[in-house]
Symmetry: C2
Subunit: 196 residues, 2 copies
DNA sequence: GTCTATAGTCTGATAGAC
DNA sequence: GTCTATCAGACTATAGAC
């Protein structure tokens, strides 16, 4: 029982890294087995098929994203709103610069989703929650008077687009002032409030 | 000679669509041959290998992007600067909504590039020219007084990030007010000029 | 739980006739 | 130029011993 758990985790971790580095198609079960230090058929004891292994990893990743993208609005005030937004982005940028695997494998899943509704349904849920979180945040900003009420949804969309795409550009090795760009995006969006 | 040209073009067109729809690995030469209406070995008369075919399409796509992303600043004035930026984005959004193949296959190449320097070198050139074009445009905007000179590079980056990511979101079928978001991005970036 | 052995399928690529 | 025939190799997955 103890050994089962350990091998299982090793398969999951190794598959995660190898799928991220080589892609799903160019990562065979034989490669994963070799990486773990077991034989190929041993993987089938834990996962019914390669596809099931891919599906399992997708669900794990989705859960993680849902947790990370959650925003709680409770402690936000006029004084810390901008700093909160800035920190949220900075934290994401730092995480994406640190963990290359995550973005690579997630892009694999996005491409998979464009060809397979099973993944697209799940992906759309994540996107929706992402946009809703930022929308909620910006509307709260309007409420406390730090965001101009005009085109709130579009302002929210801009922030999502920028922070999401920073990850993609990091992936290509492009060295840009990402934090500066995020800061400018936040400031652009918060500009123009009438204090009357 | 005439027949050669026709078959050649058919292979290129069919491969383009099939690679976009199924991905490189899940599109075999047999499938392409069947789509064209020839036998598999016939493809080898035109392309030395599957990889060479993939490389050729990549170069074609790169050329097209380089042309489309080129911006000429000559006719821009204080009066038409904002409208030019808006139209540039609107045109890109419309094209991306129309041609689904282009974005799908380009994302394939981006993933390929993260695993193969041959493609990454080319991809980085495209990105560089893209950022430079927008940077040049924004600096021209500063010069004629429609863009605030503070953080010009970051403002330019925001526009690139937004317009680039709109394509990705269209790919996932997400229905958003893309044109409105672009409009808001342009206005956010152009805001705050001091007319003194 | 993990192994060896292997079935069955598909792949990219080549040889050689027409 | 295009074909039929065929290759070696890699793949997922399974059977059955231990």
């Amino acid at each position: 029982m103890k050994d089962k758990k350990e091998t299982y985790d090793l398969i999951v971790e190794t598959a995660y890294k190898m799928f991220a580095e080589n892609g799903f198609d160019k990562t065979s079960l034989a490669m994963i087995a070799k990486g773990v230090g077991i034989s190929k058929p041993a993987i089938y004891y834990y996962f019914d098929s390669k596809e099931k292994l891919i599906d399992f990893l997708f669900e794990e990743i989705c859960k993680e994203i849902m947790i990370q993208s959650t925003i709680t609005v409770d402690d936000l005030t006029v004084n810390n709103f901008e700093q909160f937004l800035l920190n949220f982005g900075f934290k994401m940028i730092e995480e994406q610069e640190r963990d290359v695997y995550f973005n690579k494998i997630f892009n694999e899943y996005i491409l998979l989703a464009t060809r397979n509704d099973k993944y697209m349904t799940q992906l759309n849920k994540i996107q929706k929650s992402y946009f809703e979180n930022f929308s909620m945040l910006m509307n709260y900003g309007v409420k406390i008077g730090v965001v101009n009420r005009d085109n709130v949804e579009n302002k929210s969309n801009i922030l999502v687009m920028v922070i999401d795409n920073i990850g993609n550009f990091i992936l290509t090795g492009l060295e840009l002032d990402y934090k500066g760009t995020w800061e400018e995006a936040v400031k652009s969006v918060l500009k123009g409030v009438r204090n009357d």
